[in-house]
Structures are given as C-alpha cells and as structure tokens.
Symmetry: C2
Subunit: 350 residues, 2 copies
C-alpha cells in the first residue's frame, strides 16, 4: 500500500484494490465500455484515492498518441541565440501555446532545431508541430513532411503556396494600414526597413509596400537589416537613411530595428515625430519604452496561439485542409506617429 501510493501505482494495483479487472479500471476511467454506474464510481474513487495517473508512455504506446505537440521557433533558430533581448513575442507565444495546449490536455514541448545534430528522442513521436515562421526551403518543414507528422505554421511557408495549414496576420492589409496612417499623418515619403530572413513576413510586407508605392506614386526606398543585428543594425540603418536624405517617415518591420534607427536619428538631431514619423511592424519592449513611444503593429498573441493550436488539432484529427487563418494585427497609435502642427522642414541631411 505504501508502495502503491507513491510513484508506481499501476492499473493493476487499482484493479486489485477495487476488486475488478484492469479492463474494468481502464473502461471506468475513460468512460468507455459497458460498466455499471456503481462499479464505475467505485473504481474512480479508488483510483483517485491512490492518486493513480495512467502512465503516459504505456498509453501512448498503445494508442500511438503522444498527447503532446512540439513548438519550434525558426526565426529564433536563425538568430542562433535563444535569448535575444526584446524578442518577447516568442515567450509570449510559448506561454500562450502552453496554456492553450493544457486546456486540451496536451503537453507542449520546446524543440530548438530539428534540422541539425542528432534528433531529440521525442521529436519524431510528437503528435504534431507548430512551426513559427518557417523560411524558404525550410529543412524542418521538409523533415516533418517526410515523416508525415502533422504541423501548422505561423506565417505561411513562402516556398509552398499550396500548403494551407497556417495562421498569420494579414501582412498586406497591415502594411497598408501603417502606410496609410503615416501618409495621413503627413509623411510625404516613407522609407521601409525590412529584415533579411527569407520568411513570408519579410516577403509579404515588402511586396505590399512596393504595391502601395506604385498605387500612390511614391518612390520606394527599401533598406534591409539582418534580424540578428538588432538595435545596432537599426542604428546603422538610421545613419544610412539620414545620409540618403530624411524621408517623412520610416516603417521598420522589427521593433529592435525601429528603436535603433530612431535612437540614431534622434542623436543626430532629428525630432520624432516633429521631423520624422517612425513606426514598427512588431511591437516589443523596445517600441513601448522608446522616447517617444513608437507606434506599432501588435500581435494578439493569445488569439494567435489559440488559432494555431486549434488548427493543429483539426489537422491531427484529419480534417480536410480548409483555408488558412488570417488574423488582423492591431495598430497601436503612439506618439512617434502623431501629426505635429506646424510641421517643420527636415533639418539635417537633405
């Protein structure tokens, strides 16, 4: 009994103590089979009293369901660093996904990178995967595909237009929202600063920017900064932008680039929002804490996590692939893009 109460209480122990067979125990606990209500309740009581929890591996082996899914951050992998400052989207998503999976009684496993090194022992047994921001020809996606493991992605897979199990923001619409907002706030020309990762976010936002310029007759000014360069990369591009002639506004996809660029420009005398509007496509501590706070597109993380897990569960249950899920990003209007009365001419540079 002492033994039973601790670590290894098995279905046999419960059966013996309840005076029934293991079949009856299993059926009672899982609400299956044909068991009288009285027996069912008695067995449940005994199991609860013993603190019996079915061994996850035995159950998984039998039913070939692991009851856990994997989460892999491709963009973090490409950063080569699992603790980049200010990329708090990841933690939020991991946390939100964890509580979302818990609601469905699933576990969530963090899997750094499947494409290099020996495979973590569990990785190929998981029931499904959430792949965050797959890049072009992503080997992780290829592996999952080859193994026939269900997966969903955040952001579409840029190389596989036929794949539809993804959830993302409507990047084209969001980009337009930002650009329209900047134009309405008085910006004549708008520079665009994107990243260099070859993922859909970068592709789609840039395409939307180019299209918007075409429509409005604006001259596109596009800069690229590697994601991994972070705030320093933003500072550097700020210098380049100033050297090329100050535009009316800058739209930086990542919050760290926006913060760095704004900082570099402010240090050289550019007033924000007086001389220049700044906006970012990805809210973070950097944009919130900047002086002035930088307007941003914001991900509704819980909604994203919910949609991803929901879709993954559907896929795991073999649902026919419906349309991708498009979420709307919220636009957070902050001081950095407030129209200023009596707007002055840009002072430094051009």
């Amino acid at each position: 009994m002492a033994r039973e109460l601790q670590h290894g209480a098995t279905i046999w122990d419960v059966a013996r103590r309840a005076g029934v067979s293991i079949t009856t125990v299993s059926h009672s606990l899982n609400g299956k089979g044909n068991i009288s209500q009285a027996t069912r309740e008695r067995v449940r009581a005994v199991a609860a009293e013993m603190g019996y929890v079915a061994d996850a591996m035995a159950r998984g082996l039998r039913s070939s369901k692991m009851n856990a899914i994997g989460l892999v951050f491709r963009s973090l992998d490409s950063l080569g660093n699992y603790g980049p400052n200010g990329v708090d989207v990841f933690m939020k998503l991991a946390g939100a996904a964890a509580s979302e999976t818990l609601n469905r009684n699933l576990g969530l496993m963090l899997v750094p990178d499947l494409s290099r090194g020996p495979l973590p022992p569990f990785s190929m047994s998981l029931d499904g995967y959430i792949v965050f921001a797959p890049h072009l020809d992503d080997p992780v996606v290829a592996l999952l595909e080859k193994r026939g493991i269900p997966y969903v992605t955040w952001d579409r897979d840029p190389g596989r237009p036929d794949f539809r199990n993804w959830v993302a923001h409507n990047d084209a619409a969001s980009t337009r929202t930002v650009l329209d907002h900047l134009a309405a706030a008085g910006a004549r020309s708008i520079a665009y600063v994107g990243g260099t990762d070859r993922n859909a976010w970068n592709f789609d936002c840039e395409a939307a920017y180019v299209a918007w310029c075409l429509e409005t007759g604006a001259e596109p000014r596009i800069y690229h900064v590697p994601e991994r360069d972070g705030v320093e990369g933003g500072q550097e591009v700020g210098g380049r932008i100033l050297a090329d002639g100050l535009p009316g506004a800058v739209f930086c996809l990542t919050g760290r680039h926006a913060s760095g660029a704004a900082q570099a420009l402010q240090e050289r005398g550019v007033r924000i929002p007086g001389d220049l509007l700044v906006c970012t496509g990805s809210d973070s501590e950097h944009s919130r804490q900047h002086k002035p706070p930088i307007s941003a597109l914001d991900v509704d993380i819980p909604a994203a996590a919910a949609a991803l897990v929901q879709r993954l569960c559907e896929v795991m249950e073999g649902a026919s692939e419906p349309e991708p899920v498009l979420l709307a990003a919220r636009f957070l209007h902050r001081k950095s893009t407030s129209p200023v009365k009596g707007r002055t001419k840009p002072r430094p540079g051009s």
Copy 2:
C-alpha cells in the same frame, strides 16, 4: 518498402531488411550485447537508410525513462498570465534550458501549473523537473515530492531549508553589492522596494537589506508591491516614496517596479541620478530602455540554465545531494546610479 520509409518504420522492419532478429538490431544500435562488428555496421547502415528512429514511447515504457524534463515557472503562474511584458528572464531561461537539454538528448516540456486543474497527461511521467522560483509551501513542489519525481529549483525553497538541490544567485551578497554601490555613489538613505510573492528571492534580499541597514546604522525603509502590478505598481510606490520624503536611492527588486517608480518620480521633477539613484535587482528591457538606463543585477541565464540542467541530471542519476549551487549576479552599472558632482539637495518632498 514505401511504407517502411515513412512514418512507422519499426525495429521489425529493420530486422527483416537486415536479415537479423530484433534483438540484434536493438543491440547493434545501442552498442550493447555481443554482436560482430560486421553485423553491427550493416544493421546501422540499414537503419540509417530507412530513417529508423526508435519509438520514444516504447522505449520509455520499457526503460521507464522518458528522456524529457519539465519546466514550470512558479512566479509566472502567480502572475496568472503567461505573457507578462518585460519578464524576459523566462523566455531566455526556457530557451537556454531547451538548448541545454538538447545537448544531452533530452526534451524539454513546458508545464504551466501542476497544482490546479487536471494533470497534463505527461506531467507525472517526466524524468525530472526544473521549478523556477517556488514559493512558500508550494503545492507543485509538494506534488513532485509525493510522487518521488526528481526536481531542482531556481532559488531555494523558502520553506524547506533542508532541501539542497537548488541553484540561485547569492542574493545576500548581491544585495550588499548594490547597497554598497549606492552608498559609495553618495546615497545617505536607501529605500527598498520588494515584491509580495513569498519566494526566497524576496525574503533573502529583504533580510540582507535589513542586515545591511543594521550594520551601517541606516534607517530601513521598506515598501512592498505585488509583482503582478508591474510598471503601474512601480509608479504607485514612486508616489508613496516621494510622499514619505525622498531618499538618496531606491533599490527595486523587479525591473518593472524600478522603471515605474523612476518614471513616476521623474514626472514629478525628481532628477535621476541627480536627485535620486535608482537600481533594480533584475535586469529587463524596462531597466535597459529607461532614460536614463537603470543599473541592475543581471542573471547569467545560460549559466543558470546549464547549472540547473546539470544538477537535475545528477539528481536523476541518484547522486547524493551535494551543496546548492550559488551563482554570482553581475552588477551592471548604468547612468541611474552614477555619482553626480555637486549633488543637489532633494527638491520636492522633504
């Protein structure tokens, strides 16, 4: 063959194709048993060609090793919110722990909260746990203890002085470092702002503060703000501190409180570091991005993760419990605690 190459290649398939028994396959791949070198290599080649990976659950069932550990953030649980802004320690630690466990071919599972709701199916089968910041009489710790599941904690368990499998900063020493630094920078009186979670961090830092005051003859001024109140809580306590008379320095344990307090005080005309020095016990985006940047104690996250995983592995292998691991926090000296020449008298308040 087509079947074998995809999802369900089992040890039988490998055995059949290699013309041996499953025993031989198992032994060959695991480097056990008495197998001729030639056979061993042939089997390995066949397995590799078929992309065979032993089923984690079958293996786990047999060897009662899950090859995965759980990570549970108690302080996040108490925040009731898995995406708190600026608490980036968590993501960093999760990421660092994930890559650390991967190096040992272990999986890392995120487990939100074991003490409420139905248990996640896997939680009781994991090989071990890392519990981040357990609080007093923590039910999660109690559960693990009852189940006999090995675990280590970040921060000691405040209610169990005999438990020694923990890794933490030397909070007493760190607190002294900060206070000495503030005093050396010219602060006569130093106010202390702690959290309300009943964990070792709060207890030990406050105790060290009190002891330091006793030694130096300073008058203790202690404030408490709930962790969950974040920046707003910091702003509120900033007002209280001002009302009670401006001290020479404020030491806020959490970065969000520090940022809020500094902000509230600055808005009321207090100059930092001119009139007041501010320092925090936990670096975050808030402290880094504040104007001026706030001095902080910084966790070496990769080192912490490495120590935790290392210790957990030792415990899982049944090592006799050695001493706890004490890491040194780095002190990041920033503008907010720079001595100012010709220090002025505090202006507002007292």
